[in-house]
Symmetry: C2
Subunit: 205 residues, 2 copies
């Protein structure tokens, strides 16, 4: 059935165009100021059409945030070549912080905004498998570190959560402008400098 196939492709194509439009608008004006009507204007369709492809606005930004996770996971690929688990952990921290610094709006969407996670919570199938995969990778690395004799007396999962929180905390304070206002003179460097302080601690554990 070639026609049904073509129709299917057309549907996918329009869905993709909606996503592309949503992404470009979102990256240049933020989530709040990207309206359904803006997106519709960009793709030259009427606003109503968007609801035939996405349940609501949250679903669009959930789809977008998945693109962000693909980017992040891809960046993490190089970690396979880092043998020493402690070095791997550090490299992971650097990649994470770099990703957030280079793609602040995407990071915001993935780890701070409520919109995409609300969509996950309301459709309870696979619970944030994108983010879950990333966290699992961290947990495995921590396990390797423990096997290599580091982090004695620690509990792997809670420790992984805490270490994730270190990098998340720094970049989210930066993204949500609490650095600008508390350390205005070193606001741009403070995240990487904070990361170095974290590395100093890792060097002794």
């Amino acid at each position: 059935m070639g026609i049904a196939d073509r129709k299917e492709r057309d549907k996918e194509e329009l869905k993709e165009r909606i996503l592309v439009a949503a992404k470009s608008l979102f990256l240049e004006r933020g989530i709040e100021k990207t309206s359904i009507r803006n997106i519709a204007d960009q793709i030259e369709y009427s606003p109503g059409i968007i609801y035939h492809y996405f349940k609501d606005k949250n679903e669009i930004f959930h789809a977008l945030h998945q693109v962000g996770f693909q980017q992040l996971i891809e960046k993490m690929q190089v970690l396979g070549s880092v043998r020493n688990p402690m070095e791997r952990l550090k490299a992971m921290g650097s990649i994470y912080v770099n990703f957030a610094t280079e793609n602040p709006d995407m990071y915001d969407l993935m780890f701070i905004k409520e919109a995409p996670i609300e969509h996950v919570c309301s459709t309870d199938d696979d619970c944030w498998k994108e983010g879950g995969g990333t966290f699992n990778f961290l947990r495995l690395t921590i396990n390797d570190c423990i096997s290599a004799g580091h982090f004695q007396g620690h509990e792997a999962e809670a420790l992984s959560f805490m270490i994730w929180s270190i990098v998340h905390g720094m970049v989210s304070l930066h993204i949500r402008k609490r650095c600008d206002v508390i350390l205005p003179n070193r606001k741009d460097k403070i995240v990487t400098e904070g990361l170095e302080e974290f590395f100093k601690i890792l060097d002794r554990i």
Copy 2:
């Protein structure tokens, strides 16, 4: 001039009533779903009146977030009695995490939301002195720890920022529901458990 005084008091009173209404609405439905009209309804005035007391919606929530800082700073008072700087640092972490867990919406407003900080940035007088005071208190404690021989080789300010980020990271991942979805089984305990992992590290430094 008694009359002018009374007028001044009346103005202050209405401003206070706006704030009280805003706070109760905000705490039960969030910032986005608290509209100027809702607040006006609550105080039984027309919506326009609010703009005679506050420049815009951001200014209202900036005022509210200051109330939150007063609460936090008050909770921090007991720290004066903790002599050992490392113990003081730990106690500070516990207070911070408890505050965030008990007042998640207030914490969100103070450290995550964009609304109040945007107001700070647009009116550039005293740059977030509420938050600045809290951070300064942490910095002083860290200095005490360094004087007592801890954290050798570290740079005080960047270290303070990183340590702040540990607790902020944990509570903000929790508040913005990334714990629910990644560690659903231990979602409520994970923050205090993460804090314990942090304490374990402090015990060796």
